[in-house]
Each structure stands twice: as structure tokens, then as C-alpha cells.
Subunit: 448 residues, 2 copies
């Protein structure tokens, strides 16, 4: 990915690094990434993006070209710039496994490393974790809104750049989508690929029927025909005559796609036309400005739609295209730290998350406490990297998908709804963590 | 950029390509990219992203690895896959110069090429043009809201991935921002870099004053100190004692940064503290959840803020994180084409845009007509690539910035406001274009 240049970071990271270098400051720092506040439109988040963070931490380094550019920029002490040639991330990472349900104030990732390593990677870590967590969370809502339906990521074209498109394909697949239209995501991660045809294909032909026939012939094992270029119902009626002829040639028309107008109403009419014409095996696939709300409304309205292409609004998380997230210093040189900026008070120190469940296996509440607290309950945050090396290979997207499926099944019913839950998910901050916060404030000369 | 794999596209592009290949269809196609409808929150757009599109068109090809993967996928005719080894874009491109003000239905870009070349590049063209046009348009609103103030892109961390962060730095700079915090954008395009310090730097030190002093010493030519980690006004008061001592060491404190709370109120108090302490040369820089609306409100309220870091909301175009845009077939094999899907009717054929001005040089209205129409007025759409090769090197960001500045000065006053203009910008569709649309509909067997 283009992002793997270490200079894909904020200038202040290097400026601070130089100051630390000049003062000889390089004690162990603990940073945690968390979301300060859930968007109003989200009842939970799905942690995602860890795999790309670990890739970045293992690979990132200053190239000779970058060192040369920094030198000639005149901004930095030349000896400092030369020292960057040896910069590597060799720290420790603990994290929520990808696909884990999480909430505000809960660390998705903790870095423990000399401060010059831990600081420089801040920008890219936020950049990677925010994007995939945001998209996976949005996609999980689509999955909850359309149980049993095939959902396909169609959003590459209106994603914010190449990487956003690729990583959205990954994030939506791990959240439960059936696949993507983005070929490179199929090649890179084995995500199932789906595709239909564009209006231009129809328009390039002398007639819609000729376009349908040519397309079916080019894909003998099965095809989906787009039927809304001119008149949706007229196109469906044409298929009643055409499909038996194509079938006789040994071809298969699996489905039709609707992409405009009132999708529910068109689906009902098209279903009736196809059924009356003996084509009840032909499925209906719909796309166009879809998101979890429209999926819910279409299915509540009984629309006979078997699958959906979900694009722009999911990939851009259009109702909330960013998370209020941060990567914060929690400890330095063995002492807890926190900032106290207005509205941005954070919990210091290394933390653990313990989750409680009821007899049905549904989540009932989390406790946030200090990592050293022996609660008897497992910590949701687990070790994933030591001294700059992964402890295990990626679990793979299949395993992560299964984890998400199980996590969604454990969610309290009220959090599975699309509308904001009147009662949020309970997070208890332990007395041990509150005491640590008081210590941190005393250390910075402030009283709670 | 990572996006340069030709497989960063939708599966259906290749499926259609195979169908065209099998039928021997490869006549000249004309596609145009345009925005169907401006977001309610935008009175105009700034065209941007052409440079990256041209890079993509010049460079993109199937690698041996990609050919191999497509072969083993079993989805395609092996002979078709082999033919892709020779696929190149060798078509023509006409476009609005980057930085040009534009509106709904106006083509930002036209591709004229054999359909197998013109179709495959659709996804990436939309992906690149949408992102930068969206961000440049949002950034231009920030520039209009904060005349004479330094604006700096701070948004990499919450951009949607690496490429979104990089290209947002470019798009906001061409729209009139003074620079970015993204180092790689400085290295790649020479965009001026700005940076301050993070809260973690303060917290890693035993005291705020020590952190300020260390940071100032590491940047003798000038620094900006972040003063909201614990208590903003107390930090400003500390500087009154500290800055003269640092100045005596030959160091410079240029500015302070505010990043939380009521920025206007803090700025007033901090300004008073600094002025009373003899530090009226120290500027105030502010950041934190800013966008064009907050910039306007802060400055209308008289906040003594000299510069702003604008991040997340600008880079994600948070109030409207996508454009209703499309890349549509307008002509094939010499005949005009258009789809008639509900709510998505488009104007067919190759088009020209003519712009009229009043005596003050302000824009008064555009006419959209067929490219062959000799209107006597210049066409805003100009040739940029022939047979797959650029006609001229990139004008460079400095030239594009100057173009944007001139374009914004030519906007009618009502369109320069942030609120939606009661009266939109007039676009006249010529009778020649209306006649062509009727021809296209007749050709597809439909009457207007």
C-alpha cells in the first residue's frame, strides 16, 4: 500500500522525535487507541484494521530517498536525520482481536515501546484503525438489517481513494458481507467477487435484448442482467421471452438487478412478471443509494429482493464519516499520564477490559480496569506483537467473520437495533483505575 | 500510489470487457464524468484530481502476476485473459483544468477511446475525481470563511486511508490552504509543511514549562507551543515568564495552539494574557473539530485567532462525504447514447461548457451544448491527452492555486456564502443538446 512510507505521518511526529533525540529521552511509553464517544447513530463498534497496523509496524522504515529529502529540507539537525536510518518499530502491541464488539473508552490497541518508536507511528495507526472500524461497524448494521440476504460491497468508486476502497472491501467482508465487486480485494484477500453489468453495456448495443443475450453468452455459468436502463418492467417482460431461449443454448440467467426508482415497488412488479413467465428461479438483486436504514425499510415492506449491492453510504459511513478517536499517551517512564483538556479527559495507564454475560450468553456489561488488576475474568485485550514481531500469523478473514457472527449474536437485543438504544451498554470504570487517574493528576501537579 | 493496479476496479468491468472481446465490439466510446446534483450544502464545486487520473491512464497495465491470478481464477476465457497483457489506455482526454469552478451536469472529464479502454478505467476515474473534487470544494468553503487567515490541513489521521490523506493535502492546498501537516505531501508535491506538538510531548515531561523549553530548544528558528493539555490560561501565564528567557537564549516562540474548549473564548483570554505580558508578537493558532461553519462563527465573533488547523471534517467532507457523480457513456460508434433510469436521466453526446460574465467579471451563467456547437465562446473543457499521452506536463500546484483564487473571485456573491443560495447558478441546456437527446432516445426505441 502507498501508506507504507514512514513519512505518511504528521510533521510534528518528527519534530517531537528530534526533541526527544536531542534530550536523550527514550523511556518506555504506553499509548492506547480508543474511541472517545460513540457516534449517536451507533450502538456498538466492531474493532477492525489490526492486521494492516501490524503490517505497517513490521515493515515501516526510512528509505534512503526519504532520509535524503529530510536532510535537504533543512528543517532538522543532520545528525538526527542520519539517526533515522536505524529507526525501526521494535515494541509490543496488545489489541482487541479484529471483529470484537467494543465501545467508547475501550482500548482497541495498546503500544508499549520507547517513546521515539511509539510516537512516530501514531498517525498511521489512527488512520488505519479508524477507517476499518468505522466501515466494519457500519457494515455490521447492514448485516443486522438484512438477515439471510446476500450483501455485496459495491463502493470502490465513491470510496475516498484507492486504499479506502480496498480496505472497505475487507472491513465489510469481515463484518458479514458476502463479497465485493473490487477485484484487487479478491486477489489480495480471497474475498468472493460479485459483479453484474453497467448501463453502458446495454447502451452500447443496438437493443437491450441483444445486450442481455451477448452478456449471457459471455458468462455461460451464470449471469445477472441489469434491467433498469430504459424501463424496468418492460425489460423484465423481455426476459420472459428471452431466458428460455438462452437456457436452451445452455446458458444461465441467475438474477436481474434493479438500480433506480422505488426498489421495493419495482421488485414486486418484476417478481410478478418473472413468476408469471415461469422464471421464479431468477433472483432479484438491488442496488442504488442503499444503507442499513433502506435495507430495513425495504425488507420490512416485504420487498422480494434476494441480495443487495451496498456502496457509497456504507464505504464512506455516510451518516458519520469519522470516529471521535485518539491514540493517547497513558504512561511514560513507569508513571501514569493523562491530559485534562476540556471535554477530552482520558483514563491513564495500561488497561484491561472484562466482559460479563448473562445465562443466555448475551453481553451484560464491561469493566474497564488497570491491566494489573486480577479480576478472574479474561482480558479482551490480548498480546499480538512482541519486540516488533507478530506472535502469530493473521487468523484469516474466515475466522474473523465467524468471530463477528458470534459477537453479534451475543449483543443485547436493544443494541442490535438500528435506532439509538435508549439505554447504552454499561461500562464500569473500576476503583483501581479511578485511583490511578488521581495519581496521574497528582503527578502532573493537578488535583482531581 | 497503491491504486495503480489495474485490478483496482469492479469485477463487472472485466466481465463486460470479455463480452466485448468475444463479440469483437471495440468501437469508439465517449464517456463523460459529471456530478448529477450538487449537495444541498454546496453552492459550487472545484474540479480536482485530473493529474492523478492522467497518471493512472498513462501507467496502468496488467502485470504478469495479475494476468496469472485472473487465469487461475477460472472466471474468464483464457484467451481473453492473455489478450489483457497488451491492454493499454491509448485514448483521448478532454477536461476542465483543475481548480475550475463547476456545477451539476457539467462534464469534468471526457474520455474518447475504444470501448474496451474507456470502460475499464471507469472505477478509478470516479474514485480519483470524486475524492479531490469533494475535498477541494469543501476546502474552498473554508478559505472563503476565513479570509486572510492561515489554514493548514491537519486531517491525515482521520482521512479514509493513506491515499485519502495524501490527496486531501493536495486538494486543500490547491483550494487555497497554506499547507499541510502530512510530510509525504510535502515531499511529493512541495506543499508547505506545518506542525506543532502533541499533548503526549507535554505529558512525557515532568512539567509543562520543561516541555515548552525543550521543544523551543529543539527548533531554534521558531516554534508553536500547545497550551491546552492541563489548563489553557495557566499555560499562557507560564509563557509570560518563560518566553523572555527563551528569547534570551536566541530561541523563538512564534505561536501558541489551542485545541479544546471554547476556542473563541480561550483565544480572547490568551490574547489578553500574552498582550499584557509583552508577548503581542506571539500568534494564536487553533484546531479541533473545525470546518467552514465554525471558522465563520469564530471570526464573526471576533476571535483573535491567526491561523487554523482544519482536519477531520474537511478531509472527510463530513457534512456530505460523497458526490452524486457518474461516468456515463454518451456516444458509441458515432451515435449518441443515454440511459433513462428514473431520476438518472443524462444528457448524451460530447459536450462543451460556455460561461458568461458580467461587466465586473463575475460569472452570470453557463450554457451546456454539444461539442460541435460553434458558440463563439471558449469551451471550458480543454484537450489534455491524446492517444494515451499528456499534451503538456502538469501546470503545478502553484498555477492551480492561482486559478482557484481567480475562480473564487469571479463567483457571484451569493454562491460565496456558506448557506445554500436561494437562487442557484443558471445552467442553460442548448436546443442543439436537447435535439441530440431526442435523437438518442429515438435510437434506443423511446420517444421523449
Amino acid at each position: 500500500m502507498s501508506g507504507e512510507s514512514v513519512l505518511l505521518t504528521d510533521l510534528y511526529q518528527l519534530t517531537m522525535l528530534q526533541a526527544y533525540w536531542q534530550r536523550g529521552m527514550n523511556d518506555t511509553a504506553v499509548f492506547e487507541f480508543f474511541v472517545r464517544k460513540l457516534p449517536e447513530q451507533r450502538n456498538f463498534l466492531i474493532a477492525a484494521g489490526l492486521e494492516q497496523v501490524l503490517d505497517h509496524l513490521e515493515d515501516t522504515a526510512f528509505s534512503a530517498e526519504e532520509i535524503g529529502w529530510l536532510r535537504q529540507s533543512g528543517r532538522f539537525d543532520p545528525d538526527f536525520v542520519d539517526s533515522l536510518a536505524n529507526w525501526r518499530f521494535a515494541g509490543d502491541v496488545d489489541a482487541l482481536p479484529e471483529g470484537t464488539v467494543c465501545f467508547a473508552d475501550e482500548p482497541l490497541l495498546r503500544i508499549v515501546a520507547p517513546i521515539r518508536e511509539a510516537q512516530l507511528v501514531e498517525t498511521r495507526i489512527i488512520n488505519l484503525l479508524q477507517l476499518q472500524t468505522m466501515v466494519a461497524s457500519k457494515a455490521a448494521r447492514c448485516v443486522l438489517a438484512a438477515p439471510g440476504r446476500l450483501l455485496v460491497d459495491f463502493g470502490l468508486r465513491r470510496s475516498h481513494g484507492a486504499e479506502a476502497g480496498l480496505l472497505s472491501a475487507r472491513a465489510s467482508y469481515l463484518a458479514g458481507f458476502g463479497g465485493t465487486s473490487t477485484i484487487l480485494a479478491g486477489m489480495r484477500w480471497g474475498i468472493p467477487l460479485f459483479g453484474t453489468m453497467a448501463h453502458s453495456f446495454i447502451e452500447a448495443h443496438a437493443s437491450e435484448a441483444e445486450a442481455f443475450a451477448n452478456f449471457a453468452r459471455s458468462q455461460p455459468t451464470g449471469t445477472t442482467l441489469l434491467i433498469d436502463t430504459y424501463d424496468t418492467e418492460q425489460a423484465a417482460a423481455k426476459l420472459v421471452g428471452l431466458v428460455p431461449r438462452l437456457t436452451a443454448e445452455g446458458l444461465r440467467v441467475n438474477a436481474v438487478r434493479l438500480d433506480s426508482g422505488d426498489l421495493g415497488e419495482h421488485a414486486r412488479r418484476v417478481r410478478a412478471i418473472l413468476d408469471a413467465g415461469g422464471l421464479s428461479a431468477v433472483r432479484i438483486f438491488a442496488s442504488g443509494n442503499l444503507d442499513e436504514y433502506r435495507l430495513r425499510d425495504l425488507l420490512r415492506g416485504g420487498a422480494p429482493i434476494d441480495g443487495f449491492g451496498v456502496g457509497t453510504r456504507m464505504n464512506t459511513s455516510a451518516d458519520k464519516p469519522y470516529l471521535d478517536c485518539a491514540y493517547k499517551l497513558q504512561e511514560y517512564a513507569g508513571l501514569p499520564r493523562r491530559k485534562r483538556s476540556e471535554g477530552k479527559l482520558t483514563w491513564p495507564g495500561r488497561k484491561r477490559i472484562c466482559r460479563s454475560f448473562n445465562a443466555d450468553g448475551r453481553m451484560t456489561g464491561d469493566t474497564l480496569t488497570v491491566a494489573a488488576d486480577r479480576t478472574g475474568q479474561p482480558d479482551l485485550i490480548v498480546p499480538v506483537m512482541r519486540q516488533g514481531r507478530r506472535l502469530a500469523p493473521s487468523p484469516g478473514l474466515g475466522v474473523i467473520r465467524e468471530h463477528v457472527r458470534a459477537e453479534l449474536a451475543r449483543l443485547p437485543e436493544r443494541l442490535r437495533e438500528l435506532d439509538p438504544a435508549a439505554e447504552g451498554y454499561p461500562l464500569t470504570v473500576s476503583e483501581a483505575l479511578r485511583a490511578l487517574a488521581r495519581d496521574a493528576d497528582r503527578a502532573s501537579g493537578l488535583d482531581v
